[in-house]
């Protein structure tokens, strides 16, 4: 029985099971479709933020509590770029719309990468292999980063203009689906596929996977693992910033609290998925996104605690998360 389940996909069936259960509970096909699309889009955006954190942990054994700072920075940089290009954003030309959007996401991602480089060199490098000090130092860095955001952008909510192309929704059957959600889902999927290809089909990916499994052995074979570290750290931070930029566009209104809010979700995703694997992150992110949307519709009062309950349930069942790459 269990092997049959395993062959069908094992824990990857959980989102399907969840969606099926929700379909029975909700009863209306159009509502269910809307919620599912929203959940998938949200899950993909969280995946962008969580995968970097998970990979950094898996490879470098560093848990970066300052990860959410990159989410915030990404959101605010994207908002600033979009505000600066507001004539392009609101204009009728679809091409200019897309250029502005890509510029915003690109700027956020580049900022994330640069910030990641600085963070790795200055903050994290001196405290490798010392978990207690890592937690303390990255926490301190998070405080500083949040205060910097407050100093530069202020504490008031900032409106994020959404490009005209991505506003509105398309109607399939009698179900309206927001275009931005489709865009978010596709972008997340593209990133996942790209990461999967890099990790499984390239030499760098091979080294990263080997490093996750046994860092010393990779070093002993003569590879410069510190260069790999910094590359992964920059990529992870850049992804977090990209996720933040997408989330800013999704919400339409951002405050400096965006980082801490997302950090909790990201942590829950990483814990559910298991540390160090991007498959686990994707699975966890989609579960969290779906549960958040279904529960918000079915039992709004429960929605706040829903993700926590999900985490508790999964930890009771699998203390290491669903698909951990590293144990111990």
């Amino acid at each position: 029985m269990s092997t049959a389940l395993e062959r069908l996909g094992g824990v990857y069936l959980l989102p399907v099971l969840l969606a099926a259960l929700a379909f029975v509970a909700i009863g209306s096909a159009s509502t269910w479709t809307t919620l599912t699309v929203a959940g998938l889009a949200m899950g993909m955006m969280i995946f962008l933020m969580a995968s970097g954190l998970s990979l950094i942990f898996g490879l470098m054994d560093v848990l970066n509590f300052g990860h959410s700072a990159f989410v915030s920075f990404g959101a605010f940089v994207a908002a600033s770029v979009l505000a600066a290009l507001s004539s392009w954003v609101s204009g009728g030309s679809a091409l200019l719309n897309i250029v502005a959007l890509l510029a915003a996401i690109g700027a956020a991602t580049a900022f994330g990468a640069a910030g990641g480089w600085f963070f790795e060199r200055v903050i994290v490098k001196p405290v490798y292999r010392d978990h207690l000090r890592q937690i303390l130092i990255t926490m301190g860095a998070l405080i500083v980063a949040e205060q910097l955001i407050l100093a530069v952008w202020g504490g008031a909510p900032i409106a994020v203009p959404r490009p005209a192309v991505l506003t509105g929704s398309i109607v399939i059957g009698d179900v309206p689906i927001e275009i931005y959600r489709i865009f978010a889902f596709l972008l997340g999927l593209a990133v996942y596929v790209a990461m999967y290809m890099i990790l499984n089909n390239t030499r760098v990916g091979l080294l990263i996977r080997a490093g996750v499994e046994n860092r010393e052995m990779v070093e002993a074979l003569g590879f410069r693992i510190d260069r790999l570290f910094i590359a992964v750290f920059m990529a992870g931070s850049a992804l977090a910033a990209m996720g933040g930029a997408m989330w800013a566009g999704y919400q339409g209104l951002i405050t400096p609290a965006i980082g801490p809010e997302m950090m909790i979700l990201v942590f829950i995703v990483v814990i559910i998925g298991g540390l160090g694997s991007i498959q686990g992150s994707l699975l966890g992110a989609i579960l969290v996104g779906l549960v958040a949307n279904y529960v918000a519709f079915l039992a709004p009062k429960l929605s706040l605690a829903s993700n926590m309950l999900l985490m508790m349930a999964i930890l009771l069942w699998r203390p290491w998360g669903l698909k951990p790459a590293v144990r111990g």
């Binding site: 207690l132 301190g140 829950i268 814990i271």
Partner: protein
Amino acid sequence: MAVASTTDTPVSAATGPRRVPVGRLAVYAVVAIIGFCLAFAPFLFPDVRAQEVAARICVFIVLVASYDLLIGYTGIVSFAHTMFFGLGAYGTAIALKSMGPGFDAILLGGSAGVLAAFVLAVLIGLLSLRVKAIFFAMVTLAAASVMMVLASQLSDFTGGEDGMTYQVPRLFSPAFKLVEDADGKVARLFGVPLNGKIALYYAVFLSSFLLFAAMLRIVASPLGSVLMAIRENEMRAEAIGYRVVAYRTAIFCIAAVIAALAGVLRAVWLKYVGPDVVLSFAIMIDILLMVVIGGMGTIYGAVIGVVVMSLAQFYLKDLMEAGAEATAALPLIPHLLEPDRWLLWLGVLFILLVYFFPAGIAGTLMAKGGKKR
């Protein structure tokens, strides 16, 4: 681990002639002075604001010392400490609000809060203390944030974001005459009226003192040694035959209960609870800063850390205000020096401290005397 150096001093002191190291003496002296100041705070610093600060220091010493049991002695990083603090405070507050001012309400609500903290600590501990430290930190962070959201959303019980105010027993109100003179007025000692406020301060001070002494006892007991053994080498402790998970869960519960008791004291003193004063993440960061500045793995470090931080919170703001005015013409710099941004500079200070003085003030001082021998 860096904090290890702070704990081997008793051994090195014992090998030489029986002489207490100089650094250790200095720490004791500083702690004794602080204790003296707190014990006579109402008479030494009679103004209202100083009394607020003194009472806050008392409660936070307990809170930070209980956190030190976790982070310093056992090497557990938890971000749920304010959650337990808040549970104690909210339990007391809700009981005082619904049952009216009375000691029965404090007793009932306080015990309910402490019990809730204990149960939650057992659950979290058993669920996640068996895995990696880092995993545990994440789980506690998630739990604490959910509790924060709950407190602000269940506004029927908790007063939401605004929090709630309530009355405390008559013995503790400023209008109560603790000692009357011949005319039936409040008697004065050194010009300080002996009213309910004094009674309340000493209730808080003595309770804090007892809790602090209890923690000193815990650390000196066999349990304390086992905890340090777990911190230094978990595998070895397990191999010797100590059940690491059981010990970790036990100390996590003890720390949670003490934090909840500190929350009760805070609620009774403030006559107000709200997410900002007992539950917010800012308080968790305060605790973290205090324990690292003071010195992890030395209960006395908590005393020093709390006092230094509490004073810095007041004086740093003044200093920054002056700095912001002086640089008003320059771009960005005045924004960075705004008094509201004081946390920025504390964060920088915190990072530097973790790099260069991971043992904190007390730890560094204590190590100093030990090396001379």
